[in-house]
Symmetry: C2
Subunit: 437 residues, 2 copies
């Protein structure tokens, strides 16, 4: 099948969309060589306010339309790149695009995490593709490895730093000893955190991405609400100091594990050993470690955000779809839930814990605290009292446990909170060994 | 197009072939689910001596044949997995397989590096695929990222640890301070180095792999003889000690860079800064860092050898080809040399250098040495004299240079060798900054 050209329609004109348009234009000759057919940007669906953006001035005004109907009725569009983000109106646009027989490429993690199964099924019905490589780990491959390269493996674990904003904040808190609020403010000033940072710092972004990865890796539907989620807002400079002294680094990890008949998926701050490679992934970088029964430990690292990196994966998906159009292949979109595994509730996970609390500085306090842990069958690995405050008669106590059940730990924390000698439980952070380092 | 089954023929019965056969058998149901059609191992071409191997006893004896004609005349074989390795007789088998319309999957780096272009062209002529993901970075994806995921990028650099044997030896020399010969002997005893270790320790294996990666990354033909190659046999414990003191780690790196109109490709020991991620890749792990104009820095890490890891990529390739057979697609094998760039000779590269030499312990020696460097326009960054031997009246001198031309450095080394005060030039090791860390 020989074609004159393949048409691309772009939805949105933010920084990612602008960069995608730039790559399609500037690298047109190179992409044509790789596809065997020219790729032509035919229409850009914008909002009226987009037209005043700097990226709008780079492009021919004839490309723009503010009308959905105009955009979808353009007959020469084969592939639609949705670069709007968020759940709505993107969901409606995806449905309309797929139903009209257009292939769709997106970096929209929230949409894929929440509606990926439905949309992939829709793509399949209409014999078109839905590709979303840029939705996780913007500039480096993660979706393709699970779909193709690791396909012969039973995936047992995923340990992922998949949010650059929080990794940047944690790196800075660790290096500078500054507190969370000040570091966040600085990150916002530098453009590494958004004005409304909740999506990143509360772990929603990591949650969406882990839902996508776990669904692919375990061949089952893992929804965002199946993923346990805790953000990084409770971390204090002294948690970083104690972590370092104990040989750990604090990271916001997205963790998914496949056990005999359950799957666990969770996003929360963790202590990981300093000598692991993940502990050394700093700043805005992302890294994902995958454990497979054949491949062993595999690690992917790269930029997790930013228009350039995102455009790399978006355009790769466009090229992939275009090559299939040239070959006359329709839908390759599948995401069949095969395994009948259930999601393990967070209460049932087993891990080690770091607990920092403030207690009365008097004899017998540690014994009372230790008794609570013992009564809940939690074994203490170490207990230190690094600081005491003579003026208030209080002391800070840091406890590391051996592996324990989450349910037992939560019960112990409630009981500790009721002890008269305990003034405050400042933090409880899970400790992960990271299989294979 | 609906098919009853897809037939696989296996050539060889070494540990990799045995493991591939095991995966095809044990994971048959899972692979069928992923392909949409059963994958059936139909024939194994063996040598008579293979039949006494342990892996032979796991399989039905009806699968084996020692006759090439028997094997190639088996009509139900769609995909041939060549797991013999080496140039011959593998080359003849590949030609025969492709000409008879069979898709081929291999982990044979030497064959692909030397004859990949010819074989891919042959595959294309016969409308079949030739896949070789396992030829570089056994257990993790490297070929697929260059073909697909990074396709929109102009690749500017590749920095790769792609030989596990040498990385294990260097890690042990660094940790234990032992010399090369003893460490190699220990590695051989543990099965990490072969009885005849030349292919690994002289850099041939890395050379083949870099030729494959550079050809893909730069879209041109890079032959093994285009890659400059130096092994690790000259490294001494004191090189590791000085490297550490100066803030570096010694690795055998495969480096490829794309400049304006040239490409450089070289395999040799290097000093790399301790804080880079590549410096932290220890033991038998492999890691490849790629720099792209859009993606930025991307790093892939995993097991670089071993039957389990290799089978992961071999079976992934088999599944990929099988999916295409189910979809009715023939050849996707292309490796068109597009760019007309020339290979930069090693003489023309520019880098920094570490030089360790033994000289007379007398006043004015350093001035004479510095004059030679100065005359060759090489600027010295630091010169230290860490040890002197009063009995022999000699001193060890360690010099670090600023960036200099290789040609100038080689000339300077020849001139230094002629100085009466210089007893021996012990080592000269290139220093790489590793773009992006």
């Amino acid at each position: 099948m020989s074609r004159k050209s393949i048409g691309v329609g772009l939805m949105g004109l933010g920084v990612v969309a602008g960069q995608v348009a730039r790559v399609l234009t500037e690298k047109a000759a190179d992409l044509e060589e790789k596809i065997g057919c020219p790729l032509v940007l035919r229409k850009i669906k914008v909002l009226p306010e987009d037209l005043s953006r700097p990226q709008a001035r780079e492009m021919s005004s004839g490309l723009f339309t503010t009308s959905d109907d105009d955009f979808f009725q353009e007959s020469d569009i084969d592939i639609i790149v949705e670069a709007i983000g968020g759940e709505n109106p993107a969901l409606g646009y995806h449905r309309r695009a797929l139903k009209s027989g257009r292939h769709v490429v997106t970096s929209n993690k929230e949409l894929i995490a929440k509606h990926g199964v439905e949309l992939l099924e829709l793509a399949h019905q209409h014999n078109v593709s839905l590709q979303y490589e840029a939705s996780v780990g913007a500039g480096f491959p993660l979706i393709a490895p699970f779909k193709h390269d690791l396909v012969a493996n039973r995936i047992t674990g995923i340990f992922a730093i998949i949010n650059g904003t929080t990794n940047y904040i944690l790196t800075m808190m660790d290096r500078k000893g500054s507190d969370f609020a000040a570091t966040l403010a600085q990150a916002q000033k530098l453009g590494y955190a958004e004005a409304n940072p909740e999506n990143d710092i509360e772990g929603f972004d990591s949650n969406y991405k882990l839902a996508i990865l776990a669904s692919l890796a375990f061949n089952m539907r893992v929804r965002p609400q199946d993923v346990y989620r805790e953000g990084i807002t409770r971390l204090a400079p002294r948690d970083f100091r104690y972590a370092r002294e104990l040989g750990f680094t604090i990271k916001l990890l997205a963790i998914a594990k496949q056990n005999e008949d359950t799957v666990e998926a969770r996003v929360h701050p963790v202590f990981i050993p300093q000598e692991t490679l993940l502990a050394k992934v700093d700043g805005v970088y992302n890294a994902v470690q995958v454990m497979g029964d054949l491949a062993g430990r595999v690690l992917f690292m790269g930029e997790g955000a930013g228009p350039l990196a995102t455009s790399s994966s978006v355009v790769a998906d466009v090229v992939g779809v275009a090559r299939k159009i040239v070959l006359g292949i329709g839908s390759l979109s599948t995401w069949k839930a095969a395994s009948g595994k259930r999601i393990k509730p967070i209460d049932d996970i087993e891990t080690q814990y770091y607990i920092r609390l403030n207690a009365a500085d008097q004899p017998g306090v540690l014994a009372k605290i230790a008794t609570v842990f013992g009564d809940n069958e939690i074994s203490i690995a170490s207990a230190i009292q690094p600081e005491s405050d003579e003026a208030t008669g209080t002391a800070e106590i840091v406890i590391m446990t051996h592996p324990a059940m989450e349910k037992a730990m939560q019960k112990a924390l409630r009981e500790l909170g009721k002890l008269e000698v305990v003034n405050e439980i400042n933090n409880c952070i899970r400790v992960e060994e990271i299989e294979g380092g």
